[in-house]
């Protein structure tokens, strides 16, 4: 393809699956995704694009790759769907490989380009159609596929077994008793106010973060519970592959647990994609106009308990801090102002990145790029050049990232570009700086 020059990267999930495909299968998948599933939006978006290039500069991949035109949002559509239509659907395996590479590793689906397009053409929708097409054929980064299979069999992303989950919570509870008197973490309690769902990683590798979140829950005195069955992991990696079948399965499970336990609200910890998926992306696919049970993000929860005075900040963070606005909760749900309220309560010296809030650049790891695993680490490091420049400009040594993906992404960027800074979650900061009420001290 003219102007499309990339270093070859080998990914079993893409290269090996493509080998097994034949023309007939590809044709059927195109038929299914573009003729049956895609709606009128697909057609008019493609027809209306005037190729004015207004979207180019909105894209961090384009800017990070020295304005290589093949990274511009409209070019990515041209190189995938445009190419497919020009070839009337008769595509080669090499074409499919290119589509998968562009859709999974050169676009984060951050929708910043949609804000920049004079027509409001939803370029991310077009790229997600490409992901869906590849996903239906099983052509996707191996690491994403693995997580999706894990969701299918265990409702969590890391093949975690049910007894391991209960065991994890129990030992965290034990340890918390050093800091909080008679700490009790309810599992499967009925009629609680809040059902807390957590990130698979928090249960498996990042237990200190989970422990901090639970500490905040206990200190704030809210009535909460965790699920005692599979379905405690709110992540929904199928969103990245646009595997709607698994995606709705997982979301349905969460709402079912909530209604069985008769809770009033579902709370998730700091994550981006799962919030969007459960709140509207898969809720819509399940036929709900809105989330059937209020579904709130940790940012909303922290804001609420801070405003209501349920927790108090004992001492503020001294070092210069900046804030990463995760696309999935800010551009996708307007949590920017609440996020700023929390950060101002926490930090003495807070500087904004420019641009910020809904115009913020993606961390270059979102939309499944971090989940695409080691083969694609280079892609997100290259694409994150703009982000790291933004961070350097603020001169902050602390980057607050209230999203697992942003956290990991920025951590890798900082390490690669050797910037003197570190990344933290809100839960870690709040737990470290809040006051434990007198009655809860051991």
């Amino acid at each position: 393809m003219e102007g499309f020059v990339r270093k070859p990267v080998f990914d079993i999930g893409i290269d090996k699956t493509i080998e097994r495909l034949d023309k007939q299968k590809i044709k059927r998948a195109i038929e299914r995704v573009l003729n049956e599933e895609a709606t009128v939006r697909f057609k008019i978006f493609l027809e209306t694009c005037m190729r004015c290039g207004m979207c180019s500069e909105s894209c961090h991949h384009y800017l990070s790759h020295d304005r290589d035109p093949s990274y511009a949002p409209a070019s990515k559509v041209k190189l995938t769907l445009g190419d497919l239509i020009a070839k009337k659907g008769k595509i080669e395996k090499a074409d499919l490989k290119r589509y998968a590479r562009i859709a999974f590793t050169e676009c984060n689906l951050c929708r910043r380009c949609t804000q920049f397009c004079p027509f409001g053409i939803d370029i991310a929708y077009l790229i997600s159609l490409v992901r869906r097409l590849c996903g239906v054929l099983g052509v996707a980064p191996q690491f994403i596929q693995d997580q999706v299979y894990s969701h299918m069999s265990s409702y969590n992303m890391l093949w975690f077994k049910q007894d391991e989950w209960i065991d994890t919570i129990q030992w965290i509870e034990d340890e918390l008793r050093y800091e909080i008197k008679n700490a009790r973490i309810p599992l499967g309690k009925k009629d609680a106010d809040i059902l807390l769902l957590i990130h698979g990683l928090e249960a498996k590798y990042m237990t200190p973060l989970l422990s901090n979140m639970l500490k905040i829950m206990l200190a704030s005195g809210v009535d909460f519970t965790l699920p005692d069955t599979d379905g405690w992991d709110y992540t929904n990696k199928s969103l990245y592959m646009h595997d709607f079948e698994t995606m709705t399965l997982v979301t349905k499970r969460h709402y079912e647990i909530a209604s069985k336990l008769r809770v009033k609200r579902i709370l998730i910890t700091e994550c981006g994609h799962a919030y969007r998926a459960a709140l509207y992306e898969s809720a819509r696919l399940l036929g709900w106009k809105e989330a059937p049970i209020p579904f709130i993000h940790a940012v909303e929860f922290f804001y609420e308990i801070l405003v209501q005075g349920k927790i108090k900040i004992a001492h503020k963070v001294k070092e210069k801090a900046t804030l990463q606005d995760p696309c999935n909760i800010v551009r996708y749900r307007g949590l920017g102002p609440k996020l700023r309220f929390i950060v101002r309560q926490l930090c003495e010296d807070f500087v904004e990145m420019t641009p910020n809030q809904e115009y913020n650049y993606c961390c270059s790891s979102g939309g499944g790029m971090v989940d695409a695993g080691p083969p694609w680490k280079g892609a997100r490091i290259e694409g994150g050049k703009v982000k790291i420049e933004q961070i350097k400009e603020t001169g902050a040594s602390l980057v607050i990232a209230p999203c697992h993906t942003c956290h990991k992404g920025i951590e890798d960027l900082i390490e690669h570009y050797k910037v003197d800074a570190h990344v933290k979650f809100l839960a870690d900061l709040i737990a470290e700086h809040m006051e434990i009420p007198e009655r809860l001290r051991p």
């Binding site: 027809e47 511009a72 804000q115």
Partner: protein, 218 residues
Amino acid sequence: MTFFEIVRGPLAWVSFLIFFLGLVYNLYNFFKKAKKDKILYGYFSFKHTIRSYLFWLLPFGSYSMRQRPLFTAISYVFHVGLLLTPIFFLGHIELWKESWGISWWALPNIVSDFLTVLTIICGVILLLRRFLVKDVKYLSTPVDYALLVLVILVFLTGFLARYQLVFTYQVIAGLHILLGEVMLIFIPFTKLSHIFYFWLIRAHTASEFGAVRRSKDY
């Protein structure tokens, strides 16, 4: 019938008819197919749509436009000229009066001349931009150049006809009318259809960004 009489008479009817029928057909098709899409009707928000139209129609109203001031200014003038001159140019209104006896307020000739020249200049700059700016050049297809050239030619022949330069009035005005009619016919069937798809796509994106995502699309 002379060439001028043909373009002034039957071809004008044909082009307006095709334009309106094409427009109705496209919109009918869109609204029918939109029913299949659960998101388009279900989440339409009037308030956010109006908000988005406003910010995108005002010059420099959107963040995106403020980031690209030069391109915005050129493109804005180009579109204003493109919309105002055909409708409010005195000569065009005279023709309507001659045929149907209807007339409306007209731009002073000096203003419409000025707008025409500006539109041509802006059009040429946009065309050069397609050739010279790297990302736009990469994106552009032959159709994109051709449509822009067509629009510029319509305005150029119009200006020449008004001052009866180069050719006799009948020839140059006939050519101008013919090209205008070709453009009119092309609107529903080419990328020029963005004239009406703008409103529909903006409404969808505005509703999604405003009501569902509680964020801004401008």
